[in-house]
Amino acid sequence: MGLVLRSWAANEAAKHCAVVVWVAVSAWLFWRTFRLFSSGPQYYYLHQMLGLGLCISRASASVLNLNCSLVLLPMCRSILTVLRGTQQVNSRKARRLLDKSKTFHVVCGVSICVFSVVHVCAHLVNAVSFSVRYSDDFPALNVAQHRGQDPRILILTTVPGITGVILVLILFLMFTASSYSIRVCNYEIFWYTHNLFILFYIILMLHVVGGALKYQTNVDTHPPGCIRTNQTNSSSYTSSNQVPETQTKAELKEMPHITVCKEDAHFQHHFPQTWLWVTAPLCLYCAERLYRYIRGSAPVTVVSVIRHPCDVIELRMLKSGFKARPGQYILLNCPSVSSFENHAFTLTACPTQNKETFGIHIRVLGDWTECLSELLFPALNHSEILPIMHQRTYPKLYVDGPFGTPSEEVFNYEVSVCVAGGIGVTPFACVLHTLLGGWSQYRLRRLYVVWVCRELQCFYWFANLLCDLHHKLWEENRPDYLNIRLYLTNTQQLQSFSEERFRPLSSRLLIGRPRWKDIFGEIGQSNQHKKVGVFCCGPKSVSRELHKLCNSFSASGTVFEYNKESFS
């Protein structure tokens, strides 16, 4: 039991702590603002007019301020990549929290929607209150022009009202286009509506300028609830304080907690607090986008294009000043195919001291990749005779990145297990490529590679790489460093590698789906009392099963830490 708890805590505790902290901060902010508006003396008259609607709308506005500023931070990808790289500064626990940045962005976004609904409802109630409880004593407090004015006119003719309506519409568009099915099926709708966020923030800055809610500035000279000397005000204080006209001023002074006003109440707009919350993250995000735009504006040189079996193309490119770590990915843009689409591909070869080119493996599935492959391999069935010095003209490509992923942590564990499904092997191929250049300088002492594919031909993508690394490690007397397991799920015919040079792979090829519990049990036995990093890049079902297994593993004192790779 204790071991299961330890596994669960190693995997889930940090995430849940972060969420608890965020919830606590939001709740405290809500409560503090609520108390301020319900019992603060400077809001006494306003509270009398508006009631509970005032407190709820202001409290939800303060939580909205917090979330609107936090929601931008997880999307500053270059900054997060740099944070990931500074390994001396951060602990691995903090870096693992960075893996969940997209989830945190979604959580903040959902809470923005929820609190916007609360805020809008409260302000609708306020609009009705402004109209019904029009104050004759303090005309400066009013937003309505006369008693009983239609609240819809109030909403549509004030700056906060009309900007609020536009904000809600933009939020509605963004929220409805962000569901999982739309992101998978029509990514463009999601991308273009989500870029409306910049309009959202600009209108948000205008929304808070309107200043419909005012606070009283002279609370010391005009304590709330005091009586004016010249008139009896039956509407400005509760009936228990009502003073009949016959009482003299002297008698009034004797009565406790009834004071005479020295001057009339003055009211003033708030300073727009939202500007303080939102400006810094917005500037940071805009700076990062500008930096990415400048960095990605130089086209890359295509060095070679290689066709692999099972519809995979390897693209080798060269770009000056491009540095990447294994496990990172890039965003590829090809204007000849589509001007605005950026597609993510993991690097399979990073630039090193000896070789400056970097490479990606592209699986052709979908219209963008099909167009790209047609441009890279023009149709070969034309009969014209090519001149001898025929220059292959490749389309212009732009590369944005590299961006960090959880797979960068493979080298920081003593033992790592890399589980790949099909083309998901690309981040681990980059790891293997880097190990070819030298393995002793990393903390990694043992690497398990479990690669599951449907077709035998798929293994040929990296068969050479696997065999080369296997031979190198055998020569250097580290046979236990690399453990390869290949699984072929297509059980139609008995297949194996026929080539002699792929002998190490053919003996490690297994037919059928892998049994994860057995594999983990075996790895646990060989690595007792160690912390093993599990990296998965594959279908959701495999990922879910591995995550559950990591959370509940309790044999042999080994703790499996789960790291999941995800793009969209």
Binding site: V184, C185, N186, E188, W368
Partner: protein, 186 residues
């Protein structure tokens, strides 16, 4: 790049606006605010829109993502035939349903959101899309190949026990050989 399916987005919007319309209607009726008849209409319209929009349409190309338990709704919506599969009809229906919401403060938001969904449906209809039900696939029964139906009745013929035994002086004429060559461990 590829064809954008507007109907999918319009469907999400319409479902969300149906819920907002419903909520606004409930608030209006519960608070007995001025014009609560419009709020009551808002409740009915909101429920109707949610029921109509719950089943997702089948995509022209690609995998379908059903909503949980949408099969019974699919059957009901399919029964109305061209009334529900044509998106022009849906666009005008939503536009008509949203108008009464504008007369009351609580349902104003639902009115505006449903209006936007109606516009996106119009765009989908102009692009030639229409609603198709997602029916569960009936798997054809796996046809067993001929050879398995009639397994052999008799064992294969083999020589008598005398000949089968491997004799030391006559290894060549033994009736069996080792199927795999025995080599050193890899």
């Amino acid at each position: 790049m590829g064809k954008i399916e507007w109907a999918m987005w319009a469907n999400e919007q319409a479902l969300a606006s149906g819920l907002i319309y419903l909520t606004g209607g409930i608030v209006g009726v519960a608070g007995q605010l001025k014009g609560w008849e419009y709020a009551a209409f808002g409740i009915a319209a909101g429920v109707f829109v949610c029921l109509l929009e719950y089943p997702r349409s089948k995509r022209a190309k690609g995998t379908n993502y059903e909503r949980t338990g949408q099969y019974c709704f699919t059957v009901c919506v399919k029964a109305f035939g061209p009334l529900t599969s044509n998106y022009y009809v849906r666009a005008f229906l939503h536009a008509a349903l949203c108008v009464p919401g504008g007369f009351m403060l609580a349902t104003v938001l639902g009115c505006v959101c449903l209006g936007m969904a109606s516009l996106i449906y119009l765009s989908a209809a102009i692009h030639g899309e229409h609603w198709q039900p997602i029916m569960p696939k009936s798997e054809p029964a796996k046809s067993v190949t001929q050879s398995i139906k009639h397994p052999p009745q008799n064992p294969p013929p083999r020589p008598p026990a005398e000949m089968r035994r491997k004799r030391a002086e006559d290894l060549e004429s033994a009736a069996y050989v080792n199927p795999l060559p025995v080599t050193a461990n890899e």
